[in-house]
Amino acid sequence: MFRFIVRRLLQMVVAFFGTTLIVYALMFAGQGDPIQALAGERPVTAAQRAYLTEKYHLDATGIGGFFYRYFDYISNLLRGNLGESLTGRSIGDILADAWPVTIKLALIAIAVAVIFGVTAGVLAGIRRASIFDNATLLLTLLVLGIPTIVLAPLAQYFLGVKWQLFPPTSGANPDFYALLLPGIVLGSLSLATALRLTRTSVAENLRADYVRTARSKGLPRRRVISVHVLRNSLIPVITFLGVEVGNLMSGAIITEGVFNIPGVGFNLFRGIRTEDGPLVVGIVSVLVVVYLVSNLVVDILYAVLDPRIRYE
């Protein structure tokens, strides 16, 4: 187990440098005027230009200059120094305010996915090819097929504006109720995938040899399913949900933008809209790290759940 974690940590370090290098290269390599690229189409003041040149060491040139700037960027990132957005606010401060909201939203979404998706998935897997199974399959296909940019505004309009069941937008400090509708919208996709994954996994495990063994031990069907089948079936589901937490942290761009939730995604949304280059670079960098770390956590979780991986 220890060796497994060490190996995975080393892999993550490699992936971290690889991914950040790609992100950084895509941002800055071969750019005519990197400062204008950061700022997009809006005019850059002399003060901003000086700040950006210093921050990103844009005066150094060539390949050496590129790597110099890259390692500078990495060391700043690791020290949590993300610089300032074009509005002059510290990006670290922006994120510190935004994280709690985003985490709350992601937790609601995951709860929705677990409570409804996993439960329905287990039922559909047990009663495969039943009406319930076919209905949930069709329903999940619908949910998977409807993009968030359709689902979020329509939910906001019908449930928030027209029928006024939920607050249509949330304020600066959203409470649980204000986050509920966006959480459901955000969680619906995870719900659909979790449901399908659980269903396939349960159905597959029900046919496994060890189920026959458990039955021949004279265990009641309830115990065969709730202990033997479930324990095996939930390994991929929990793994998926773990990855999904990472996705949801960064994936709430549309939902947070539409519902005006002041989370990380919302700030990225605004950064894109207002063409605030440093803000976008800073947030994207942090999100990539979050994504990598969450993948690592999921891998370790997987090893904890599946002894076959643990003793590899």
Binding site: A37, G145, P153, L197, I254, R273
Partner: protein
């Protein structure tokens, strides 16, 4: 983000196979099987599925809309007059007018073209990349496979929407054609991994078949074996994955345009219209609902079509 990933996730599970049947059930009874082709079976199965026909009809309808929008509306989507802002339906404008005073329905009809162009070309490019990478990795194995598989892992490890944002932020031109091409390139560059994995695994399966060994013993070269014997096997699963991917590429384009970094005016895109409809939804909801419906139906049609075909080819998952 989710639009890209959920489809990919469900795809991965489909590619994953559980252990095969248990002893003592009829599939192991060991009798000779009736010689029926897989494609024939699949077609027989598909023909009976209403979802297949509904989604196929929708796909054809949308393709016609993209090719000849004039068939569906006689109004000009660019004919926008502010005095008609949010005006009620009149003439050919069956859904009325939007904030800019443009015909909502005509814009939705003309929006199909950009979506379908992005979807189709991204899928084609994705298919080309996936076939090349998957065939090389699957056929040659060894270090080629190791390198390409790691590459797939890395690209799969990059959050797609974030990467697309980073890439598209660098495209500062306003030229419609260049923006369209950029969106296609970006989506294809980031979206080929799932299909490549599917191709790789079907190539590995095909490579182990006896007739491939026979062809090799008869002196056929690598190129010929790959082209004549292995490619046809990898094609069917790849096409299924790409049909579904086409739907998610359309959703991705709309999402990027919605965020303001994909396509831009004067190109007509559902994503742009949904965003402006959203901003003004309190005054009038139709300009939000109409392009939303068009987009959702299009994406659904492709995903359901792909799903139905996959089910037909892969009865194990039923």
């Amino acid at each position: 983000m989710s639009d890209f990933e959920t489809v990919a996730a469900s795809e991965n599970q489909a590619a994953r196979r559980g252990p095969s049947g248990e002893p003592g059930t009829p599939n192991q009874v060991g009798q000779p099987r009736k010689p029926r082709s897989l494609a024939g079976d699949a077609w027989r199965d598909l023909r009976r599925k209403p979802i297949f026909w509904i989604s196929l009809t929708l796909v054809l309808l949308i393709t016609a809309m993209a090719a000849v929008p004039g068939l569906f509306t006689s109004n000009d989507p660019a004919d926008c007059v502010l005095s008609r802002q949010h005006a009620a339906p009149s003439g050919g404008a069956i859904f009325g007018y939007d904030f800019q005073g443009c015909d909502t329905y005509a814009r939705a009809v003309y929006g199909a073209r950009a979506s379908l162009l992005v979807g189709a070309f991204s899928a084609l490019m994705t298919g080309a990349i996936a076939l090349v990478v998957g065939m090389l990795a699957g056929y040659f194995g060894g270090w080629v496979d190791a390198v390409l598989s790691r590459l797939i892992d890395i690209v799969l490890g990059i959050p797609l929407l974030l990467a697309a944002i980073v890439l598209l932020k660098r495209v500062s031109t306003d030229s419609s054609t260049v923006r369209l091409a950029s969106v296609i390139f970006v989506l294809a560059a980031l979206g080929w991994t799932t299909a490549a994995r599917v191709v790789r695994s079907s190539v590995i399966t095909a490579r182990e078949q006896d007739y491939v060994a026979a062809a090799r013993m008869l002196g056929a070269g690598n190129g010929r074996i790959m082209w004549r014997h292995i490619l046809p096997n990898a094609l069917a699963p790849a096409i299924v994955v790409l049909t579904i991917a086409l739907g998610s590429f359309i959703a991705a384009e709309a999402t990027l345009s919605f965020l303001g970094i994909g396509l831009k005016e004067p190109t007509i895109s559902w994503g742009i219209d949904i965003n402006s409809g959203r901003v003004h939804m309190r005054e009038s909801a139709t300009p939000l609902v109409v392009p939303s419906t068009f987009l959702a139906l299009t994406v659904l049609a492709f995903i359901m079509l792909g799903d139905a075909i996959r089910d037909a080819f892969d009865p194990k998952l039923r």
